[in-house]
Structure formats: structure tokens, C-alpha cells
């Protein structure tokens, strides 16, 4: 019998939700790291019991946690409990929390500036890890998307992190500007077919793609139109909220932009709008059905000034045609007086048959559907505001 594990990051700790393959009865375990913001937690596809977690605080900075037993115990990989906590020279080994922009002559880029909200130059400052993306092939390799926008990688199980500086060093870097939530690198998509290809997305710079494992990058925003920009079709500056792909078809990408739901059929070379009949094309999450590459999910939000569902009705929208033609999924979801938001990392799908779909809200609910979205039920209702949701199937 399969088991299902859902990793939930919230404003005040991490929670682990467990069920069997029926996905009807759940246990709730947590909070882990109570009182800390857990931006994201995700398991390795190679070793599902290897979990990585971003624990962060405006007071105390960034902590990386790792579990090797599916979340029962945790440790900071730079300071494993069974090893000495200092080097022979007496230097502390708390390296796993250290994210330092690479400005070395050999591999780094000059530490210049990016644009601040008012258009003035602003120095790059590391604030937190928004997203952790474990490698598809190696449990010790993980990518980290951080604020201020940069991509880091560990190849030693999280003990040390090194910037892939070619991204921030792209010629457009000095023009990047934060969205209202900060200049975060929030999406990392690894391509199973082209192992050196990675897509990332930044608010508010847009999508970038590498084909040489992170050495060089190019913008992938052609076709995006953002009316708030002086040049609405500029190469960079778009507030991309999330991109998603189906593993079997990595050249097809779906995007929830600040406004507009978009689609690319050529690996981000060009985009076209597929918002169709959505009640609002503003939103944060987007995801793809595990077995149907043309079935996608979004949760429309009323507007960028009103971060809650239109008409107080929480509706997931599903398209079985890769966009444009959308149906509202409402069974089991509140259809009155609902004013929660669903943040960009807070939706996930599982690989069971039928496909499970999960999302968390800023009101602390985690909803699950065991029938590809036809019906929904809350797994848990009263968590702190949910920042991220990931799901694992354990054979």
C-alpha cells in the first residue's frame, strides 16, 4: 500500500501530514521549528526520506535543516550532531546556513547593484531561501532559490552552498527590481530529458533558462506583456509568480504571471496567453496533472490589490486542454465568505491514480483532492498561514 506524505511550510513552523493511498484519513505532525517561518520543504526524488527545509526569520536569518528519516528527526547539515562542531583549526562548521554571493575572480561576478523600488541602485543583500529543489539524480545535490535573487547549489547534502553566479551576473542583473514581496528566486524547474537545462523564475525579473548547468543564462520572457512596465514587452522585468511543467514533456511550460496565465511550447522561447474564461487571471499557483500533461490547475485571485478569491468563493480552475478552456472545481471548497490567499509555492500534485491535488491557504487550511480536483476536503483547517506545500508518495 502506498503512503502519502505532505510537507507544509507555514509562517510559524513546519507540519507533516500523513495518510495511506486512499488519502481519506490524515495525521498531522508538528509544528517543527515552531515560531520560525518555513518557506519551503521538499524531499529528494532519489531518496524520499531525505528532506531539505528552509527555516528563516527576520530576526535570526537563515537556517537549513535536513532530515534523513522522513522528517522524524532533523539536523543542520553543517553541524551534524555526531561530528565535532569545529574544524581542527577551531573554526566553527556551521556552514550550511551560509549563503554568500560569489564575487571571486575565478567563478564569481562583481557585486554590483540591482534596482530598488524607487529605481535607485541597491546593493545585493542575502535575506532568505525561498525554494529548495533537490536534484533528480543525486540526493546530496540541491538547488536553492534565494532573495535577493540568486541561485545556489549544494553538492554535499547541504553542508555548503555555492552560488551559480552566471545568473545574477547576467547583463540584465542591475535592472532587476523586487516585487512587493521581495526580489525572490521562487521557481526552479529541472529538466529530466536535458540534464543541463534549468528554468528559474524571479519576481520581478522573469524567467531565465540555462542549457549548460548554470554557467550561462538567457531570459525566456518573449510574449509576456506587463502593463505596469514602461515597456510592457521588455525582455526582463516581468513579475512571474510561478511556472510548471510535466516531467514527460519539459519543453511545454505553464505560467501564472502577476496577471495572465501563459503557455510556452518551445522551452520558454515564446509565450502565449491561455487565460481564456478564468474569472480573474491574477493568481500565484499553477500546477500540472501527474498523468495528463494537458491538464493544469490554477486558483484565481481577485486582483493584485485584493489578494482573495473573486466573490468570496474558493475555486480551483482546471483546464484539460492546456489552457483557454477552464472549469471551476468547487465541490468541498467554501463558496461564500472566503477571503484567503494561496501563495505561489502552496500547490502540489501526487503521482497516484487518480492524481491527488493539494493546496494550502493563508487561512491555515490545507485542502486535498484524491480525484484530480473533482472534489475536495480539508486535511487540516487551523494551521498558521501556509507558505508551501509539497507531496511525496512512499512505495
Amino acid at each position: 500500500m502506498n503512503k502519502v506524505r505532505v510537507l507544509v511550510g507555514t509562517r510559524k513552523g513546519a507540519f507533516i501530514l500523513r495518510s495511506d493511498g486512499k488519502r481519506a484519513k490524515w495525521t498531522v505532525n508538528g509544528p517543527h521549528f515552531g515560531g520560525w517561518e518555513i518557506y519551503h520543504a521538499k524531499g529528494s526524488p532519489v531518496d524520499p526520506n531525505r528532506l531539505y527545509l528552509s527555516q528563516t526569520s527576520s530576526w535570526f536569518g537563515q537556517i537549513i535543516q535536513r532530515s534523513d528519516d522522513g522528517g522524524r528527526t532533523w539536523f543542520q547539515p553543517g553541524t551534524p550532531p555526531v561530528e565535532p562542531t569545529t574544524t581542527p583549526e577551531g573554526m566553527p562548521k556551521g556552514e550550511s546556513n551560509k549563503f554568500v554571493y560569489d564575487i571571486s575572480p575565478a567563478t564569481g561576478k562583481p557585486l554590483t547593484t540591482h534596482q530598488w523600488y524607487d529605481g535607485t541602485p541597491h546593493p545585493w543583500e542575502f535575506k532568505r531561501v525561498w525554494h529548495l529543489e533537490p536534484s533528480l539524480t543525486d540526493a546530496d545535490t540541491v538547488y536553492a532559490g534565494v532573495e535577493d535573487a540568486a541561485l545556489f547549489r549544494t553538492t554535499d547534502g547541504g553542508k555548503t552552498w555555492h552560488e551559480l553566479a552566471g545568473l545574477r551576473g547576467h547583463e540584465s542583473g542591475p535592472k532587476w527590481m523586487p516585487g512587493a514581496g521581495g526580489m525572490g528566486l521562487h521557481t526552479i524547474l529541472l529538466d529530466e530529458k536535458h540534464r543541463d537545462r534549468i528554468y528559474i523564475a524571479i519576481s520581478a525579473a522573469g524567467v531565465f533558462r540555462t542549457d549548460d548547468a548554470g554557467k550561462s543564462w538567457r531570459p525566456a520572457n518573449r510574449g509576456l506583456v506587463s502593463q505596469f512596465m514602461p515597456d510592457p514587452k521588455a525582455e526582463v522585468g516581468h513579475c512571474v509568480h510561478r511556472i510548471a511543467m510535466h516531467r514527460s514533456r519539459p519543453d511545454v511550460l505553464f505560467m501564472q504571471k502577476h496577471w495572465d496565465v501563459m503557455r510556452s511550447d518551445d522551452g520558454g522561447g515564446s509565450w502565449r496567453e491561455v487565460s481564456g474564461n478564468l474569472p480573474s487571471d491574477f493568481g500565484f499557483v499553477i500546477d500540472v496533472h501527474a498523468h495528463e500533461p494537458e491538464t493544469i490547475y490554477v486558483v484565481p485571485i481577485k486582483s493584485d490589490s485584493e489578494h482573495y478569491p473573486p466573490d468570496g468563493k474558493l475555486r480551483v480552475y482546471r483546464s484539460r486542454t492546456g489552457g483557454n478552456d477552464w472549469e471551476a472545481l468547487t465541490k468541498g471548497l467554501p463558496q461564500r465568505d472566503c477571503y484567503v490567499d494561496i501563495l505561489r509555492d502552496a500547490m502540489a500534485v501526487d503521482s497516484l491514480d487518480r492524481c491527488g491535488v493539494y493546496f494550502g491557504t493563508t487561512g491555515g487550511q490545507v485542502y486535498a483532492s484524491a480525484d484530480a480536483g473533482d472534489s475536495w476536503a480539508p486535511i487540516v483547517r487551523d494551521l498558521p498561514a501556509v507558505l508551501s506545500v509539497e507531496v511525496q508518495i512512499l512505495k
Partner: protein
């Protein structure tokens, strides 16, 4: 013996209860205390001051003997009562919640 009082979340992170006690050789300064603290508890590296610049994180302050020492030099000698262990060195987080 130097006594250091940490905020709740850092006590949890370092897995300590109550005050931390440190032996220092040489002058008792904020830098010396923090160096010794991070050497004993590496998981606190970066949580009180930046990993690289060693600047105090903005939501934290240092106090001792009723004085705010946050803006003193990191190499300033701390009061004798801190050096003797009569008074603790306090690392205090900004109040949140109201």
C-alpha cells in the same frame, strides 16, 4: 566566566536552557563573546551577526548593566561586572506581536 542570555529561538536552536556560560581569554568585548559563542555553538553562526560582515542583525540589540551597547565598537571593553560574571551580556530580539 561570562554569562550570556540568548533570546528564546536561539536557545532552542542551540539546545540550551537558561544562560550560556563562556570562558574568555583576553579582553571581554562583544566580538570576543560572539566569537566564543559561535565556536561553542556553530549553529548560531549567522543568526546574531552576518556571516561575512559580522554586522549585528537589525532586529537584535546588545545590553548589559542596564545599558544599550548595540552601537558601541565591537572591540570596546565591556563593564567589569560582565567580565566578572556578576551581570550577564544580553542579546535581545525586537519585540514582535503588538
Amino acid at each position: 566566566m561570562i554569562r550570556v542570555v540568548l533570546p528564546y529561538h536561539l536557545r532552542t536552536l542551540a539546545k540550551v536552557d537558561g544562560e550560556v556560560q563562556l570562558d574568555l581569554k583576553g579582553p571581554v568585548t562583544p566580538r570576543a563573546i560572539l566569537d566564543a559563542l559561535e565556536a561553542r555553538y556553530p549553529m548560531l553562526s549567522g543568526t546574531i551577526r552576518d556571516h561575512v560582515t559580522k554586522q549585528r542583525r537589525p532586529f537584535l540589540r546588545y545590553f548589559a548593566c542596564g545599558e544599550d551597547l548595540s552601537f558601541e565598537s565591537q572591540d570596546a571593553h565591556l563593564p567589569d561586572k560582565v567580565a566578572s560574571g556578576e551581570e550577564p551580556f544580553l542579546i535581545v530580539g525586537a519585540i514582535s506581536g503588538g
